[in-house]
């Protein structure tokens, strides 16, 4: 019953500051214009702390951490 997380990106708010990709390169890369591409791969406990920081550091509050699933 593992809790996993996923980052939800709001492209309207996003200003391409890029902090998220620096903090969570395991799941976030940048496109050619500096906007984040979020991997569909779920975020497990080992990355949860980094994911929270990535979300918190966004100056425009364009990211949200959402609980994805609780086992099956």
């Amino acid at each position: 019953m593992a809790v996993t997380w996923q980052i939800r990106w709001d492209p309207i708010r996003c200003g391409a500051h890029g902090y998220c990709a620096e903090i969570l390169p395991e799941r976030i890369t940048l496109d050619d214009w500096g906007f984040p591409i979020i991997s569909a791969e779920p975020i497990g406990t080992e990355l949860e702390e980094h994911a929270r920081r990535a979300v918190a550091q966004c100056p425009l509050l364009a990211l949200k951490l959402e609980r994805r699933s609780v086992g099956h």
């Binding site: 709001d10 492209p11 309207i12 996003c14 391409a16 496109d31 050619d32 214009w33 500096g34 906007f35 591409i37």
Partner: protein
């Protein structure tokens, strides 16, 4: 020229109602009097009789008819109505979407101008079926004939006390994305007609925070007939997967560019024949408009207008545009023009759309004019991958769909252009695409 509605309606006098025949042209929505004028309420009632009263029964009937939305997304209509009716956060709002922002599409505005009462019948039925308290008709500012006809029709109905509800006719800005459902809701709530983040989706939280049923004008008109004649009647023409008729805008290299209503069991080639055939040899057909896909003419000819068949060929009918590209033109140049238009129609909110659409339009322009080498193709492919599904709405996805089909269908042309040998048609000003409606407002 496609500048006026009249020129798009060279309908030959159609067969008399009810047109039970199954052929290519199949007048159901556009049955009745020929000519450029809107059908009056008395004429409409004399021809079709009064509409029944909507209710839960009609949602079941729509399910049985397998009617799907005709705005481009082909979502099952009965399912949409059911989900709106099931919401509990207040009385629903019904919106008829006649913001036909697509420059190559004329079918909704033609229907609005000729048969406004069919559309309003459908809207009134929707109000009754989902227990809505408000009905809005959202009409593109450029569609003057449709707007006037619908205004007049709404007044006629009030005078005749034809419906319990009244209709508010609201102007839509002439922008490509104005008809996108979240943009429509944004505008009706007093904001700009720009898309917003979903969820919540309009059927949950829409106009005035209420559950909102947004339905394309043609779809509403089909509802008006299905409510009267039943799902079996609707399915008498078309295919099991895509029953009924469809309004198409057929233009480009055809003898009589027009809006035509066809049996969905027919083929692209038969549709082109029905509008007088080709003006010259064709190389490709753009199906579905500016968000659509290029299909080589030879493949397109025998394609049935059935959603499953079209999906099997990586295409769809979308908003019903069939645009024929003659051999004496450059598919890449036309694609570049459409991409440039779509880039300009970005709402300017999401980075991948703002920067990405401009980038692919520019890259395609460089390729067209022989100012690029083979690496440009790689960039186009990379950008297409980076842009797709990265906006709040599907605007960038539509542009990428068009681009990907162009890269496939005009692959040989592209290789020649990238070898710095642009074709002779690349520099010729296009007369193929209708002029953009030119709106610059978001309000």
């Amino acid at each position: 020229m496609l500048a006026t509605r009249r020129s798009l309606d060279p309908r030959e006098p159609g067969p008399q109602w009810p047109p039970a025949q199954s052929g290519t042209a199949c007048w159901r929505l556009l049955s009745g009097p020929a000519g450029p004028d809107a059908e009056s309420l008395p004429d409409h009632l004399q021809r079709l009789g009064r509409r029944p009263t909507g209710g839960a029964w009609l949602v079941d009937v729509l399910d049985a008819s397998n009617l799907r939305g005709r705005g481009g997304a082909a979502f099952p209509t009965g399912r949409k109505w059911r989900s709106v009716a099931a919401e509990t956060n207040g009385d629903p709002v019904v919106v008829v979407n006649l913001a036909e922002g697509e420059p190559a599409s004329f079918k909704d505005q033609t229907l609005g101008a000729l048969r406004p009462h069919l559309i309003l019948d459908g809207a009134a039925l929707a109000v009754e079926s989902v227990a809505a308290s408000r009905a809005i008709v959202y009409v593109g500012r450029a569609h003057a004939a449709a707007r006037d006809a619908l205004r007049f029709a709404a007044r006629e109905r009030r005078r005749h006390k034809a419906d319990e509800c009244r209709f508010d006719i609201v102007d839509a800005p002439d922008r490509y994305v104005a008809g996108e459902t979240s943009a429509l809701v944004n505008r009706l709530n007093g904001g700009p007609s720009k898309p917003t983040m979903t969820p919540p989706r309009p059927h949950q939280v829409g106009v005035s925070g209420r559950p909102t049923l947004i339905q394309n004008a043609e779809t509403m008109a089909h509802v008006a007939l299905i409510a009267r004649y039943g799902p079996e009647w609707f399915r008498q023409v078309g295919t099991p997967e895509s029953p009924g008729t469809a309004l198409l805008t057929v233009l480009g290299g055809v003898a009589r560019p027009t809006v035509i209503e066809v049996d969905r069991g027919t083929t692209v080639g038969a549709v082109i024949d029905a509008v007088g055939g080709l003006t010259g040899a064709a190389q490709a057909v753009l199906l579905g408009g500016y968000f659509g896909t290029w299909v080589p003419a030879a493949d397109a000819w025998n394609l049935r207008l059935d959603d499953q068949v079209l999906a099997g060929h990586a295409t769809s009918l979308g908003c019903g545009v069939v645009l024929v590209l003659p051999t004496v033109s450059c598919g890449l140049a036309e694609t570049a023009r459409i991409l440039r238009y779509l880039a300009g129609e970005s709402a300017g909110q999401c980075g991948p759309c703002v920067f990405g659409l401009d980038a692919i339009a520019s890259a395609m322009e460089r390729a067209v004019h022989g100012r690029a080498d083979a690496s440009e193709r790689d960039r186009l492919i990379r950008w297409a991958g980076q842009i797709s599904h990265r906006g709040a709405c599907h605007h960038p996805d539509g542009a990428v769909r068009l681009l990907n089909s162009a890269l496939r269908v005009f692959e040989r042309d592209l290789a020649l252009h990238l070898g710095r040998r642009p074709c002779r048609y690349a520099r010729v000003a296009s007369t193929l695409l209708p002029p953009a409606r030119g709106g610059t407002e978001w309000q």
